[in-house]
């Protein structure tokens, strides 16, 4: 690639410079500010001077502690039971104003697990809400990336047929993409309604009334799933088109050759289509992952992180803190953590895709 004909320092900077300069000014520079804020106590509104606080913001977000407790025993030494489960000492007595356990002060139970015998280990976190936001965001990414990418590929193959009127279907499948996510979220909020929602009525109609209405967004078990479903519905068409343009770049002569050799459909897909889509696959995976980590608008319109934090996400927490709670420094710290997370994920993705290339 590097030949004297492609080396061109001045033209290179002339062509890439304007866009690069804009990004430095309007993305990089503000981000550097945000990183700086995360080490201070900067507030949105405050007459107090900004002070350097080191890693305090990060400690408050990421602080964890482990506490193993034995169940309460009655006078005879038998384990006390409550609702069929062994009863443990109240965590509150350890985490609130207990001078013997300063390391647990202000922490809350995140989750707990049995640690041999009747003992139970409690994982305590300084900021349980943020921990839940991290878990939810990863759940969202892990579910959405393969599901959306796969469905999009399926749709692309479906739409890549030579059928009369196929363009109409492609246009329709892509339509949700061009509708604002805010508009879409408002519509789906009505559709998901627990009392008189369309979805409940359709499902109950399809099952002849056997289906019990669900408050999709108001139930901790279904809220995140409902948002995942809607998000895929909205975005899958976009990735379908990316796959489609990838499919178009595969030379028809390859398919002709395969037809002559009598290859099965699966063989055609496995040995011609899929290898031809490698670059596209990397693009689709990266774009979906980035978008999924930024999950915000749907949450903001539909659930605001509820019920009981079941739909908290990292970006929602960053905004909630920075604006809602006027804590620019805390919000910035979350942004930096998110940046580091996504950076690591994309490095891993890069490593994995590069590995395959070497084979």
């Amino acid at each position: 690639m590097a030949s004297k004909f492609t080396v061109s320092h001045r033209s290179g900077w002339l062509m890439a410079g304007p866009a690069f300069g804009l990004m430095v000014a309007f993305v990089l520079l503000p981000f550097v500010f945000a990183v700086a804020f995360s080490f201070t106590n900067q507030r949105l509104i405050s007459p107090n001077p900004t002070e350097f606080v080191g890693l305090t913001n990060y400690e408050q977000l990421l602080g964890l502690g482990l506490l193993t407790l034995d169940p309460l025993k009655d006078a005879s030494g038998a384990v006390q039971m409550k609702d069929g489960e062994p009863e443990y000492p109240s965590l509150r007595s350890y985490t609130r104003n207990n001078p013997d356990y300063p390391q647990y002060d202000g922490k809350r139970e995140w989750f707990s697990f049995s640690s041999g015998g009747d003992a139970r280990t409690f994982v305590l976190a300084s900021d349980v809400v943020f921990m839940k936001a991290v878990v939810n965001t990863f759940l969202f990414v892990i579910i959405v990336a393969p599901l959306q990418g796969g469905l999009a590929l399926g749709l692309a193959l479906l739409i890549n047929q030579k059928l009369r009127g196929i363009n109409v279907f492609r246009t329709i499948y892509f339509m949700p993409v061009v509708v604002s996510i805010v508009v879409v979220s408002i519509l789906w909020k009505i559709i998901y309604d627990g009392n008189s929602g369309l979805l409940n009525n359709i499902l109950s109609g399809l099952t002849f009334g056997a289906f019990q209405p669900v408050d999709w967004l108001g139930n901790t078990n279904t809220a995140l799933g409902a948002i995942i479903g809607m998000s895929i519905w909205q975005a899958v068409g976009f990735h379908m088109v990316i796959w489609l343009s990838g499919l178009q770049t595969i030379s028809p002569t390859l398919y002709e050759a395969a037809a002559i050799e009598g290859a099965s459909k699966w063989q055609v897909f496995r040995y011609i289509t899929w290898p031809g889509l490698r670059n596209t696959a990397v693009l689709v995976l990266i774009v979906i992952t980035m978008q999924a980590f930024g999950l915000f608008a749907q949450i903001n319109v539909m659930t605001k992180g509820g019920p009981i934090d079941s739909t908290q996400t990292i970006v929602f927490q960053a905004i909630q803190r920075g604006y809602g709670k006027q804590d620019i420094s805390g919000g910035s710290a979350i942004s930096v953590i998110l940046f580091l997370i996504v950076l690591s994920v994309s490095l891993v993705q890069r490593y994995l895709t590069r590995d395959k290339e070497a084979k």
Partner: protein, 418 residues
Amino acid sequence: MTLHKTIAGAMLASTLFAGAALAQTELTMWYHGAGNETEMVLVNEMLAEFNASQSDWKVVITTFPQGAYNDSIVAGALAGTLPDIIDIDGPILPNWAWAGYLQPLAIDESLIKDYLPGPKGVWDGKLYGIGMWDAAVSLVTRQAYLDELKLRKPTLDEPWTGEEFQAALDAAKNSGKFEYALDLGMAWTGEWYPYAFSPFLQSFGGDMVDRTTYKTAEGALNGEAGMAFGNWWQGLFKGGYAQATQDGADRDSGFASGKYAFSWNGNWAALGALDAYDDVVFMPAPNFGTGSKIGAASWQLSISATSKHADGANAFINFALQPSNLARFSKGLGLIPATAAAAELTDNYKAGGPLAVFYDLSQRQGLLRPVTPGYPVAAKIFEKALADIANGADVEATLDAATDEIDADIEKNGGYGH
């Protein structure tokens, strides 16, 4: 070129004309009413009258939709572009005054002598904001329901006790006539939660922060009274008396269509209820131990610290506080006039009027939300805690966590100047 000259000439002419005709200095004003036609008609009427009433000042208004208002004005403050006059929601005013974005008002004391306590925005002993109206919440029902359920009609002097309220909810629920006994307005997320529900907590004897020092929420939010409130609150939903998630439509029309026996709603919705039934009763809040309490304070007018025309802005606010203006907004929007004199000018709030009860409620039960710059953050934390508890979260752990978060915020802000 000719076109340019023409335009330039026209512009010059118009400036000259404007300058010659009106030597008025422009005052800029931000207001939260965009999209609310009825309200904006009234505001614009008042502005036009003020601008015509004198020759020194001319108020030019910019309106914002309410849902975007607080974020907009915070951004304006950060960027240093605040106008002369800002209208601001009462409970967040201390935050703004403390941050140095506002200056104390200089208004005629006689105008606010007989004022309700709610509409006065005081911080650090100085008056920074003043409202033209107050708002009040009541427990709305029908006389027919009370009769049918065999319930005593509570009065201002003798409101329902917590037990009586519980008995009323049980009676309504057991009658089987209603979808839910109580409409709390859970659909109105945001400031409604702290505004409408923190008075319950205060009636139990707790609070969002400890008002003796304003330095901590420990013991106030998560003390015994706080826990009692939390358990009662959760019981409303666990017991099936109220719904934790509510459609906006049910909030708007559920009481009018007979879905609910009791509705916890504001005076601004009272006219709608009166339209629906001819036997509507507006009852005071139940007394859970330390007296009946409802939230006080609504939107208030204030002057930015950067205003170069504070004298003009004060002149405008003095104009706005005349009884006729207070009555104007009350008549148009159903709001509670800030003085008894103004109330007498309205059909609804004058003695014996159908909404007069709200004036009394506001006067006798109204309690300001904690007057501290920490309020906006505490309110967000309180809202989330109430929503979580309603959805079944552990009461003790949730209130403890909320307490810690409020305390951490107070500490991060160096005690908010208390």
